[in-house]
Amino acid sequence: MPGTTLSLPYRERIGLVMVLLILLIATGGLINLQILNHEELTTQSENNRIRVQPLMPSRGSVYDREGREIIDNRPSFTVSIVAAEEVRKVTVPNLAQLLGFDTLKVRKRLRKNMVSRYQPAPIKRDIPFEMVAIIEEQAARFPGVSIQMEEVRRYTSDLDGECFTGYVGEVSDEELNRLGRVDYRLGSMVGKKGIERHCDQLLRGHEGTAYIEVTASGLCRGPYKGKEPTPAVAGVDLILTIDNDIQRSCVVALDTFCCGAIVAIDPRNGEVLAMTSHPGFDANIFSSVISEDLWRDISNDSTHPLLNRPISGLYPPGSTTKLLTIGAALEEGLINETTTLKPCYGGYQFGNRYFRCWKPEGHGTLTTVHAIEQSCDVFLYQVGLKLGIDELHRYFDLCGFGSITGIDLPGEAPGLNPNSEYYDNRYGRNKWSRGLVLNNAIGQGEILVTPLQLAQFFCGLANNGVVYRPHLVRKQIFPNGEEKTPAPEMAFRLPFSKKTLTLLQESLRLVVEGDHGTARRLRTDLYSIGGKTGTAENPHGDNHSWFVGVAPLEKPEIVVCTIVENAGHGSDVAAPTVGKVIRTYMTKKIGSDEIALTTHGSDH
């Protein structure tokens, strides 16, 4: 066969070309990686070995006005197993025995939670400290077992303050999008309700970062020297306006009832001294793992423990807003303090409807002041008619009803303050009776208020018309010791003249101190109390019982607003409750045991 051989020099040349080609390809490959892609591959190599570890800041603590704990942090211990250090037939059985699990359950959790053989896989969260002590002391029995500590929130349990403290939980996707991903990341804890949520930015502090060097299998090889760690900055501590003593007295006062709420405010500055929603729930359950059963029980409970009654519970105000109706009529010059209207014979005929007074035998003829003192409905019906729906609506609006107070808590409800436009929309133009104003005038009908709004209105009455915005944060203490005390903010002024206010204040006094007052039983010789009872008709059940008390009347320092759901007359149920709270306040103020002893009898 021709042309099949090649001379030796040619073959040598081809051989050389092959060698050069291969060495060139290899060199090209080296240049490609080590020069052209050097930077990117260096970054990848750094990413390989450096693990960014967040340093968690201590969340700010929350104290009452006297520096007593409301929320603080406690250590929570998680027990884990490092698979690579586990000893067969020793680690798992011993740990299972300690935890009271069976070995299979421990094995299952180990498999499920293991990220790498060298990283601790959590077995149980929040184990009691005694177990931690056993594991530390008898380390030889637990090879490969490690304990991680994290801080969780502790809410002082007998305060029932979850309506203002709120609680924290893992950030949700929706919150991540809303709050931004700079300060929060998946798994961050965030305030879900109450002060925890409103002041989350202050309380949470700033995460720090540490850089550690890890091996391919995730084993830590110590700190990475190329980058300085940034330390975490602890959160801001808060001093609240709450007084734990008064708060506790509220809890005790409501304890015997099914459902209700108390708000206590200092009318001179809007500081909320106590606030409780009953029944509540224990905010601590959110600190460890909340079981599905427990959560279902709470959210399906017919008494609605998750409802934040003081700021978002909506109730008809009942007679408590009769003062507002009278005040409006006085301002508009429709009546004066000595005006007498048609006498009360137990009811009032309007059109073809008969509106009853709460007292079937009637009050007879009353002047304005005594009409309030005895809470006469017939008198109020007539005042309401003089005012008309929209004028009444205007005064309710000016007194802060139908809109949120702007307290430093999330989730406040605005309530409902209807006007003729509202009724037009609801029933159709001219399809509703003007008689509705009779209901509104006595705080019934469509009007809905929150206990906080009502307390705010009475603060205005007690403080000569000036309403301070209710608030809970009294002082912020920064980690560097710096303190910030926000000044009380004036929210608005009640639309009443000095003369009207004096008259309304006098009627508050008569409710307790007058011979016919509906809350006569609160009367005490040691300090003066004023107030207003209310019995709100409730279409869904028994009447709600209201009382708003003010003390001491000469120079009011505390306004306590109580609602007890489905409990009947305000004078029977809510008034004594308020009396207890006010007594606690006054006892503390005067510092005398005498009060406690003397007033004890007058309550009953």
Binding site: M1, G15, V19, A26, I35, E40, R49, V214
Partner: protein, 405 residues
């Protein structure tokens, strides 16, 4: 006695330098290992280097005539060892590759490389058949195919490729035109091209034109066409039948990023190690990829990645240059020496080393698949080192005795 001044000290020096660099790299590769056994790999490699040098010294003292005479005997012994390993071999990671002699594990496939090289060199030295004759091609192919079949049975695809390389390089060196080599290799191209029918059709057209112009003879031409057709049709058929993990391996080779945690991991980590080394490297014992376990098999298959990371471009290039010295010298010697047998030995030795270098370095750089071929002189492993030094011994011996017939 030999006149030591006449030895090829350039080749010896290059091989010695490579071996010592290898020991340094093995030391660095396992410096942070948890077990003291792994940390002292480099000491054992040092002992192996001693044994390899003894083997080298023995080889250069033996007359070439002895290799010539004992070539077939040696061949049959190594075939026997290969058969033996299938029955009583030691298994590691699913492959039976080693014969255990107490503390030493011998890989018969390394011995077989030498044996096939000697056998083929002897056959090509004495045959009177023309280079492209069918009998000559067939007989030499059978010499290579027997060990290939035995090694594929182990299984060890990477090492079996070395035998193909010995066969093809000696076919070429004994005078077969490279065009014929291309035709013989053409079914392999078919195998790859067949993944896309248009690519394969174009390739097939080119092949036909090539055959028409070259006219290699009726039988050869027809066989080539049939083989190409067969491979082209078989490929898609085989692909469908491959198990998922086998497909994954092939796909990973084509695109390592497609499975970064699994099969592509080694290649990605190797590229990161070499690339992050840059021009000057991170320094001895300071490669983070090496130190922190990101590099897999770093003292054996991926030793070149350790080199690239810690000594950068200049270190890697230096190693390539040292290899280049050996190849260049071997080629010169193969061309100059008078004996056809000796010439084949020198050329074949260089070809084995060159092929392993290419496949191994290509793998660490990410343009060759993971085959498990070690890097001569540098990778940890006794029989590989002894084998490499034996080949160097042959090259030096041929150089020393270039005038012998």
């Amino acid at each position: 006695m030999l006149n030591y001044g006449d030895l090829d000290w350039k080749v010896i020096g290059a091989a010695l330098l490579l071996s010592f660099i290898g020991i340094l790299l093995i030391m660095s590769a396992q410096h942070h290992a948890a077990s003291s056994f792994e940390r002292t790999y480099y000491l054992r490699q040092l002992v192996w280097l001693g044994l390899a040098l003894i083997s080298f010294v023995v080889v250069i003292h033996l007359p070439l005539r002895l290799f010539d005479l004992s070539a077939y005997l040696f061949y049959f012994v190594s075939i026997a060892l290969l058969v033996l390993v299938l029955f009583i071999g030691t298994s590691r990671m699913g492959a039976t590759r080693w014969l255990s002699f107490g503390f030493i594990n011998l890989a018969p496939s390394d011995v077989a490389k030498l044996a096939v090289l000697l056998g083929l060199a002897r056959f090509f030295a004495y045959t009177k058949l023309p280079p492209a004759s069918k009998q000559r091609l067939a007989f030499s192919a059978i010499l290579a195919l027997i060990p290939i079949a035995l090694i594929l049975k182990q299984p060890d695809l990477g090492t079996s490729l070395v035998f193909w390389v010995i066969l093809f390089s000696l076919w070429f060196w004994s005078g077969l035109s490279p065009l014929y080599l291309l035709l013989i290799l053409s079914p392999l191209v078919s195998l790859v091209a067949a993944f896309h029918w248009l690519a394969w059709a174009l390739y097939f057209l080119v092949l036909l034109i090539f055959l028409f112009l070259l006219r290699p003879g009726m039988v050869f031409g027809v066989l080539t066409v049939i083989a190409n057709l067969a491979f082209g049709i078989i490929t898609p058929f085989i692909w469908v039948r491959l198990a998922d993990y086998q497909k994954l391996r092939i796909l990973t080779f084509l695109d390592p990023g497609c499975d970064p945690r699994g099969a592509g991991y080694q290649i990605i980590q190797s590229k990161i190690a070499i690339g992050s080394g840059g021009v000057w490297g991170k320094g001895f014992l300071s490669g983070s990829q090496t130190r922190l376990d990101f590099l897999p098999e770093r003292h054996t298959d991926f030793i070149f990645s350790v080199l690239g990371e810690e000594f950068g471009l200049w270190g890697s290039f230096l190693v390539l240059v040292l290899f280049g010295v050996i190849f260049y010298r071997a080629l010169r010697i193969a061309t100059r020496c008078r004996s056809r047998f000796a010439s084949s030995l020198a050329f074949g030795s260089a070809a084995i080393i060159l092929f392993q270098l290419f496949v191994n370095v290509g793998m660490t750089l990410g343009f060759m698949p993971v085959t498990g071929l070690s890097l001569p002189f540098l990778s940890y492993g006794g029989s590989s080192l002894v084998m490499s030094w034996t080949l160097v011994g042959l090259i030096v011996s041929v150089h020393y005795r270039w005038q012998e017939y």
